[in-house]
Symmetry: C2
Subunit: 153 residues, 2 copies
DNA sequence: CCGATATACTTGCTTTGTTAAATATTAAAC
DNA sequence: GTTTAATATTTAACAAAGCAAGTATATCGG
């Protein structure tokens, strides 16, 4: 008697896998871009976050840039050494570390702004502006969901 | 004279970052599920791909499962040892390695089928069936794009 | 056939991811 | 005020990602 097929969703229609594949696709040109200046994808995210939001505590950066705090801690040192950011400890709460982007970090972002815009423009052209906006809307909505199962409460 | 702001897209509307954040969100419950059987997220993807497509060469698996070949190479050995897959070298081209899922690997997939379906159902309920399908359609379309810039040809 | 290329993986090394256990400061509760 | 409990990060240790260079076939041009 034949076993019933395991019947998971086709990987193409599996949300986690689809998100991953889509991201790989999108990251291709961006990796090419970043490779030229020697910044890693993660450092780039950190830079973008502090550039966008201004000086932030490590925990907030980790949250915004999708990094674990421990990973962030490790990469901050080198980033300061490379002159991309500055770190300070606010006197009113000396547990915290606040990171700000440096002029050199800003310069790095500016240096990639044109390329970055071109990549985005190309994607918009290939994919369609409306669909891209729609996709971003859906992704934004997805992030706001509460998916913690009733498993743990 | 003030410099023009670097003007990158807000990270919230940056596709790479949005995809990453969305994926983190979606992976939460799945990580809980996989933790119970000790398979890593990557091994799970490999299993799912060979289960779905049948025996595949390493390069193809790497492509489908979004892994680097080098990462795949390093995880195949342990997976064979765990009895999840089998590896063979086709005599007609001894450079290649072909991986197939084992009965035990199939069993592992079956063991998670129910949980997996439940997670998906919950997501469908929270997010809405229509929107979820729409999102999957958009992601699938995105994967089919050709984004290689005219940069290199 | 034979050297030159191209393929398909492997390995070595550095950076990140992950988890668990410290450290350092603050804030709270006697 | 001093222990006690929270916060905010740091460290340690080991698996996995990512990149560059190396190895083992296969294939091709002459």
């Amino acid at each position: 008697m034949p076993e019933p097929a395991p019947q998971l969703r086709q990987t193409r229609r599996s949300l986690p896998i689809a998100l991953l594949r889509a991201r790989e696709q999108v990251m291709g040109p961006i990796r090419d871009m970043l490779a030229q200046s020697g910044v890693s994808e993660q450092k780039w995210r950190v830079l973008r976050v502090v550039q966008e939001k201004g000086p932030l505590e490590l925990s907030q950066i980790a949250e915004e840039a999708c990094l674990l705090l421990s990973s962030l801690t490790r990469m901050i040192g080198p980033m300061v050494a490379e002159g991309l950011i500055t770190r300070t400890t606010p006197p009113e709460d000396r547990r915290k570390t606040v990171v700000a982007i440096s002029p050199q970090g800003e310069a790095l972002i500016r240096a990639h702004a044109a390329d970055s815009a071109a990549i985005f423009a190309r994607m918009e052209a290939e994919f369609g502006e409306a669909r891209l906006e729609q996709l971003l809307d859906l992704l934004e909505a997805l992030q706001r969901l509460d998916l913690r199962g009733s498993r743990q409460g």
